[in-house]
């Protein structure tokens, strides 16, 4: 078990602010956050690569915050395909085993096995520079896993790969890292879908802090704060200021908003969050179409309402002409309410 207490660092770019968390063995934790949220900082602080200003790290009850990097039983896979250029693929993976004191023959045989697991059995004698990006990352992954460290950390490992390759490796990922009930896996990413797919526990970070953690589906359905909500959604959630009065919900200056199934808070200002799938063509609300773009097999449309801007997600590829008016409906099931302090106060009554 990895226990992190009040971890604080001081860096010119992003500092960790008082991070406390408990990681349990046998789990895959995905850490989600925008660029600059502190995800990499967290991994590096755990690894010992960035110094701590405050806080402690305990592995199985023993404090390791003062241990040198090489004694921490952790592995790291970087975003930028880091492999040893001067060694063959086989020696790359055998490297940590040799440092552990294993004989060359034994190290190489273990390395060969791991390389077969990641699908690179035929490439053992090549140099990393001769491999494609995806293959290089597999080498890095094999090397990280071969030493069976307690903690395996991957820092946006697929970010530098092309779309198709990312999808493919994402699918393979569970199989690749299977068979480690004893270890803890930390996987950082900026993509909400990736975070929700790969982990059984999701941690959301903003500005060096953890703002939410829990099972991905639950977090997605009910993000605890506005910050967390904006990170977890892709395409982005739209926030509209509104208010509650006499048991009804209003957008902006006073347009009535749907609220079936929602328990409304007492009268007062409230922030209404619209998920992209909350809006559908055909309905009571009028908006001007701004930008529209395609993403995969969906269309994202930016809409200009009287009360603010929102984003609509539509299945399939459809053309929406900028500048024209469109009537849409807004579904209350995909609507969330946030108080002025950012807390999620959505309560559904069904």
């Amino acid at each position: 078990m990895l226990q992190v207490d009040q971890l604080t660092t001081a860096d010119s770019k992003v500092s960790l602010q008082d991070i406390s968390f408990q990681f349990d063995a046998g789990n895959i934790y995905t850490i989600l956050g925008r660029t600059g949220a502190g995800k990499t900082e967290l991994l590096r602080a755990l690894m010992g690569l960035n110094p701590l200003v405050e806080g402690d790290i305990q592995l199985d009850g023993q404090s390791i915050a003062k241990r040198p990097v090489k004694d921490r039983s952790m592995s790291l896979v970087y975003q930028q395909f880091i492999n040893y250029p001067h060694l063959s693929v086989l020696d790359n993976v055998a490297f940590p085993l040799r440092r552990q004191g294993k004989r060359k023959a034994e190290a190489q045989s273990l390395a060969a096995k791991m390389l077969t697991t990641v699908g690179l059995g035929d490439f053992v004698q090549r140099r990393p520079a001769q491999l494609s990006g995806g293959q290089q990352q597999r080498v890095a992954l094999a090397r990280a896993m071969v030493k069976k460290s307690r903690i395996l950390m991957l820092d946006e490992p697929l970010a530098n790969l092309d779309y198709k390759l990312r999808e493919q490796l994402r699918e393979e990922f569970p199989r690749l890292v299977a068979g480690n009930d004893d270890s803890i896996i930390l996987y950082t990413t900026t993509e909400p879908r990736e975070a929700m797919e790969l982990g059984n526990t999701m941690i959301v970070m903003t500005d060096g802090r953890i703002v939410a953690s829990g099972p991905p589906a639950a977090l997605f359905a009910h993000p605890p704060t506005k910050d967390a909500a904006s990170v977890i959604s892709d395409p982005p959630i739209s926030f509209i200021s509104g208010f509650v009065r006499s048991g009804a919900l209003y957008f902006g200056e006073g347009q009535l908003a749907p609220n079936n199934g929602l328990q409304l808070p007492p009268d007062g200002p409230v922030t209404i969050a619209l998920r992209p799938d909350a809006i559908e063509p055909g309905g009571a609300f009028n908006a001007t179409i701004g930008l529209s773009e395609f993403s995969g097999s969906e269309t994202i449309v930016h809409l200009d309402f009287d009360f603010g801007r929102a984003i609509m997600l539509v299945e399939g590829i459809e053309t929406f002409e900028a500048g024209t008016r469109l009537s849409v409906s807004i579904q209350a099931e995909h609507l969330m309410l946030f108080a002025s302090d950012g807390q999620n106060i959505t309560i559904r009554t069904k």
Partner: protein, 281 residues
């Protein structure tokens, strides 16, 4: 217009090539002359303008009063240059790595100041240090010895090694070192096992420059050695000031510069690969 540039370019390259080889060709042909060949002005082509003789060359390898010994100075030059270059390269590489990876602080002095300190040693004209070095080596009993000269040359060549390697290491991502550490290397281990094997181009360039500036030094060898230790540049200058025939001088000169001319081939290989630009910024 293109044709014009092309012709201009070819002429230019041809002209410059001629200019470059001229002294060598002249020395070569002169080395095969004897007293008869230079009585009435410059002569160029053997057998046509004059009768060639091997007097110049053979005199280099005869010791004793008639001969000019080139073997001794050659060995001394080689010894001093190689030892000083190796030491400078080793120490300089370590220092450059440290400066590129760690943060040093001594009061208000920080990394860039330390690097500047190393590199600014090159501004120091040899004159400034010549006499003090003389006295210092005298105290150490190291005047006219290979050891004394090596000591002085290290001070000359260290800045060069630091200069080249600092830029080179800046181009090696720190993540590589970090990866080595997560794989079980200490910081020193990471340097020797991972960074160093990937530093060969930089080491070659730095080593070349050390060899060049070491082998070609004249002034310090001149002021700090006399009879026991004789380096090639000093030998040829003393030959030049005494009555030494041109053919011996020319032969001596050619042998002196031959070794480093071979180095040019190696440097060219690294230069055209584009690996030098990192070392030179």
């Amino acid at each position: 217009m293109n044709k014009f540039y092309h012709i201009l370019k070819t002429l230019f390259l041809f002209g410059w090539s001629l200019f470059v080889v001229f002294p060598f060709l002249w020395a070569l042909t002169t080395s095969f002359k004897d007293a008869n060949a230079i009585t009435s002005g410059a002569t160029y082509i053997p057998w046509v303008d004059y009768e060639p003789s091997t007097q110049g060359w053979s005199s280099l390898f005869t010791t004793g009063s008639q001969g000019i010994n080139i073997v001794g100075p050659f060995i001394d030059s080689a010894a001093v240059t190689l030892i000083a270059s190796l030491v400078s390269l080793a120490l300089g590489t370590l220092a450059a790595y440290g400066l590129s990876r760690f943060e040093y602080r001594l009061g208000f002095v920080k990394n860039s100041d330390i690097t500047f300190f190393f590199i600014s040693q090159r501004i120091m004209p040899p004159i400034v240090l010549a006499i003090p070095f003389f006295l210092m080596l005298k105290e150490l009993g190291a005047l006219d010895t290979i050891f004394g000269l090596v000591l002085v040359y290290i001070a000359l060549l260290l800045p060069i090694a630091v200069w080249v390697m600092t830029d080179f290491f800046a181009g090696i991502p720190k993540e590589l070192d970090e990866m080595a550490m997560t794989d079980g290397c200490s910081p020193i281990g990471a340097f020797f096992r991972v960074v160093l094997p990937n530093s060969v181009p930089g080491l070659v360039v730095a080593g070349m420059f050390c060899l060049i500036f070491g082998w070609n030094d004249f002034f310090f060898a001149f002021t700090l050695t006399f009879t026991e230790t004789q380096l090639l540049p000093v030998s040829i200058v003393s030959l030049n000031s005494s009555v030494t025939p041109w053919w011996s001088l020319s032969a001596f000169a050619l042998i002196s510069v031959a070794p480093l001319a071979c180095v040019a081939v190696i440097v060219e290989r690294y230069m055209s690969r584009g690996t030098m630009s990192g070392a030179i910024r």
